[in-house]
Symmetry: D2
Subunit: 368 residues, 4 copies
């Protein structure tokens, strides 16, 4: 057990606060011999980092990652390789701007973890949210890059599918669009609408929530271990652990409640070499085990409570007061959660891939 | 780690198949000295068991629980008490009716775990769904009864809040109604509507999904351990592990995506002795830690795929075929998930109560 | 984590007290498709059970095991097979003889866990030692039988090598002798000497300690995971968890402290297809990983403190008193620990076999 | 689970190779509010570091530790305090001297982990032993310093008690002597003898083993969780995980095998406010739970196999060859294991202290 570790055979542990000297992650259980590099991890981090557009936080962090252990290279290894020992990754914080947070030392920001951390621990690093800051997600994205090495054939992509009340149109869904706009949105028309909408939100000093959809394709059959090691269970856990997430669904999700048994069950047909499913309401998971179809997960991110509008709250000594966030402000934190969702999907699948292989000796797949 | 265990300090492990001689659970880590009895556990099981109304499966199981270990009583203990050692509970299966399942040996029922279990393990007990059967939830409910002993002051109740497309009206919400109708529904008017609706569904030989809401009140502040031991994360994991669940949300859930920061953040005011929240969009959890407000979780159950209508599928040898479920059939499996949701809430809270006490030496609460 | 579970991928959880209705174990993570039977498990239990000779406890327990879950059989499976789901094994207690323990309710037996259980939990089942009773080892032996199925090519055998101050002569070591005498002793001459020696001990109403050596042959190279998942570490943990064990050593063990680097290091030579070691001071483990040589573990069992001689102790209310054990009495509990040591070796190796396969995709072996 | 983590509620994860840029540890689960500083950790590291005397390795590492997370300080906290979030500690490597290891790339050093790492992973960092290097123990000592903060009233001390065949005389045992000689030896006469003896060993280019005894005093009653979370079990696991350890014993240890029940059981007498034990063969642990007496653990370290004498071995391609270690060489690696043993004792006790508090709500102690 560990409060700050996730996973069983492929397990990672993150550390670091928003205003500490650095943050990082130790990845344990990674198979040996995989080709790895700082550049490869950096590429994933660069997608996530703040200060990329006017819609995401203006904090400028280079988020440069360093590999401190778990790899080796000489003239025979054909590049840098994992050794099977723990891989320690570190990212230094450079743009903390402590003075922005001075007056929240004695007040609890509504919607943030200030109150609960203070009650639980009796002490909290209030600068930038301390350990509860979303900067921790940089460590996840770095770990996710390593996880992807374990399951190189699984293609993982995510798209923002809703911002505030505005949803995409699935008929226009095109993965190639995701990196063409500031929203990681697969629907270019929606991306346009959201630009205007979020401009308004940002100018009001307000914020809005979002929904992200993550899809993993080419997932082998058999990943997931009933009853309490189910794949969907670990995906729900993984997404819910992300800052500001309040909901997770698989496949048809909440809509499945409204369907009948006839509408919901994905019928099967004989295929070439193996059967296939006529539909995918299940989201690629049946009985907690992957069935070969794309694994589809959606999660909802609440609007950030750091807004430029005064809010009622209390002080540490239980007295009424107001609070207003100054300085940096994110109109939609959900945007930057997109690469984080991809990372969590990779981390869960890598872990389950190793666990399945451990218990069965197989890499997954259809046994026909 | 364990595929069939859940929890850290308060940990339970279930075992048993639908058509095996029995099923059961071992509860480990329960504090010593708590008053316990088979009757107390039986009471919770009786709420869950099949054959109670025409809306739930007609399989008749007495689900009699026996305590086999972990307790002790003599003339000084003031009744039967837990000893701090593992508590083994067993429930015998009596009404298996093997002959109902004979022809699904070679076919995969759509929407069920047949296909995935077969691919993962190369073998499956196809009678009644084997280990994937919802009978396993009886073990959970038994374990949940023990968990409630650890947190006796926390009041946990659940209600069915949606059946198919029909939702309750929260203005009529009354907990006292939950045990007055066959649906565990807090809205008596909705219960009436559902009766008629489900009669139709049942006669069609079809099924429909549902949404359950679980509420825990009087939860002390401080339960949950960031970043990967968050309370909402473990609740999502717990509910998603229940058979047929496809979605979980906390507080405002998916609706939070549509809210602005102003609408969503729960402001705070000074209260008597401690502050309080003006609203509860957070569902009682902030930054992964309980904030003292009711913890509110909702989860969606898909419609069962065991319906009396032929479905297209394949055989074990990848040939097209049809399949039709005969015999027992549940028009809405979500109904019986209500006590299971309560049990999972108790199990997660008991575990977090002990973990919080372990790390901080406190039982939770507001430190003013 | 779990106080009553052991292992990671191949994990078992035991339950049950000496005087409860039954005891048992849930084995989780066992691969599917392995041939299993109650008879096979019973065979290993029969080697362990009490009442077999005048040198072991006169409590007569049939120790009949039942398999309650985790297996399946039809006309195609070629006998009963594991399904990959949890295997629940139960053994009923039949010969508890409660009246033997009545007067130890208020006194702490020296050398037993009475005092510490009472302080830790505030309550204890004092009949027969409750949960601290060696009857729990029956559950381990049952679980060990299942573990052996995972590593069928590994040959595991144990021998008593010392009783009190009397050691065997390794020059006479012959595995075929182990089941030919009541001591599981590979040295027939020592067995004779011990018979006379223990007769004396038993008549005095006293007891004596012992040392057991467990050897696993044909262990593939590569099992064990540095730094904190080392094979020798888990073996030490496993043996130390057995009742009354106070010491564990691997290979040369404590003797290694007296050796020089020249004497201790096992040199290597090229062999047919793979290298071999000229000696085995390492006990088959280097750097925490198996090296292909026999894995050799020894552990010491203290003499039981349940003897027929009065001992000074205190009551629950901190008053001086005497205590004397009546009824059943074991002159050397170490004898029955021999099959338990074999079981623990199997359980650790099975777990490490799966973990190694999980992380590397290989079954172990020399990669030349 | 994790190959590189140890502990349950107080859990640490180490990372880093001998010749990598750094090594470190992440400590998770530490209670909040404890006073901490780099200086405090550095003090423990300085006791361990190489290059301190002619009897320990001549590699000169400053082993400067940095705290990167998990702490906070402002004008009200009264110094630097733990926050309850993960504490990341890092120690940079400065004196790697890569050229010393060039020719062992293709050969397996006898007695080292080269062969087994290569077989398990297919790749190894051969410089300085890579991950198998004893430099990892610096990370343990740093983590142990944090652990001591959790149990400040427990006094933990260790002494070397045997070097090669030469044992100390317990009649001369004086803790104050331990830091007065280069051997951490509580017997000043033995320390003198060892100086001469080891001078000889070192000049021969050879090495010798050792035995270390670690004692924890003022341990509260009740730590340890039967059956598989026993305190002695975790201590055995902890010590066996240290490089080059081949044996562990508690209290009378292997000698207990030679004792009778009369000699071995520690009788009890009524004391002031609580009972006490007349002797301590049990080593402070009964039934896996601490009994209030000093916890006494001894472990044996084998002689290092890195010696300046040619040894027979094989190459990676299974060909006979010789190997000789050049450069730095430790005549007795056991010396530096003394602070490591203290650290592991602290780490296990801190973990069990929190686990006991979690399950029982008490800090341990005698309930009279």
């Amino acid at each position: 057990m560990s409060h700050n570790s996730f996973g069983q055979l492929f397990r990672f542990t993150t550390w670091g606060e928003s205003h500490g000297p650095a943050l990082g992650v130790v990845v344990d259980g990674c198979p040996a011999g995989l080709a790895i590099s700082e550049a490869m991890i950096q590429e994933k981090l660069d997608r996530r980092k703040p200060g990329q557009s006017k819609y995401t936080t203006q904090r400028r962090e280079p988020d440069q990652v360093k590999i401190l252990s778990g790899t080796f290279e000489d003239e025979r290894t054909d590049g840098l390789r994992t050794t099977g020992t723990p891989i320690s990754l570190m990212i230094e914080n450079t743009d903390q701007r402590s003075k922005d947070y001075g007056d929240i030392r004695d007040k609890f920001r509504p919607g943030h973890a200030d109150f609960t951390y203070e009650q639980k621990y009796g002490i909290r690093d209030y600068r930038g949210g301390g350990r509860s800051s979303a900067r921790e997600t940089a460590a996840r994205v770095a770990a996710g890059a390593v996880a992807q090495l374990v399951v190189p054939d699984i293609k993982i992509r995510a798209s923002l599918v809703q911002v505030g009340p505005h949803k995409i149109n699935y008929d226009r869904f095109d993965w190639d669009q995701v990196d063409q706009n500031p929203f990681f949105c697969a629907d270019p028309v929606a991306a346009e609408e959201w630009a205007a909408y979020l401009d308004g939100i940002r100018k009001e000093g307000s914020s809005v929530g979002a929904v992200i959809e993550v899809v993993a394709e080419n997932v082998p059959v058999g990943l997931g271990a009933p009853i309490y090691g189910k794949l969907d269970q670990d995906l729900a856990s993984a997404m819910m652990s992300i800052n500001a997430v309040k909901a997770v669904e698989i496949g048809a999700g909440f809509d499945a409640a409204e369907l009948t048994g006839i509408e919901n069950a994905d019928e099967m047909r004989a295929g070439e070499g193996a059967p296939y499913f006529k539909s995918n309401k299940a989201g690629g998971i049946l009985g907690g085990i992957s069935n070969g179809d794309p694994v589809v997960v959606r999660f909802a991110v609440k609007p950030t409570s750091s807004i430029l509008v005064p809010r009622e709250t209390v002080t540490k000594t239980n007295e009424n007061t107001d609070i207003i966030t100054k300085g940096r402000h994110d109109p939609c934190v959900g945007i930057r959660a997109v690469p984080v969702g991809e990372a969590m999907m990779a981390l869960v699948l890598a872990d389950h891939f190793l666990r399945h292989r451990g218990q069965t000796g197989r890499d997954g797949g259809v046994g026909f």
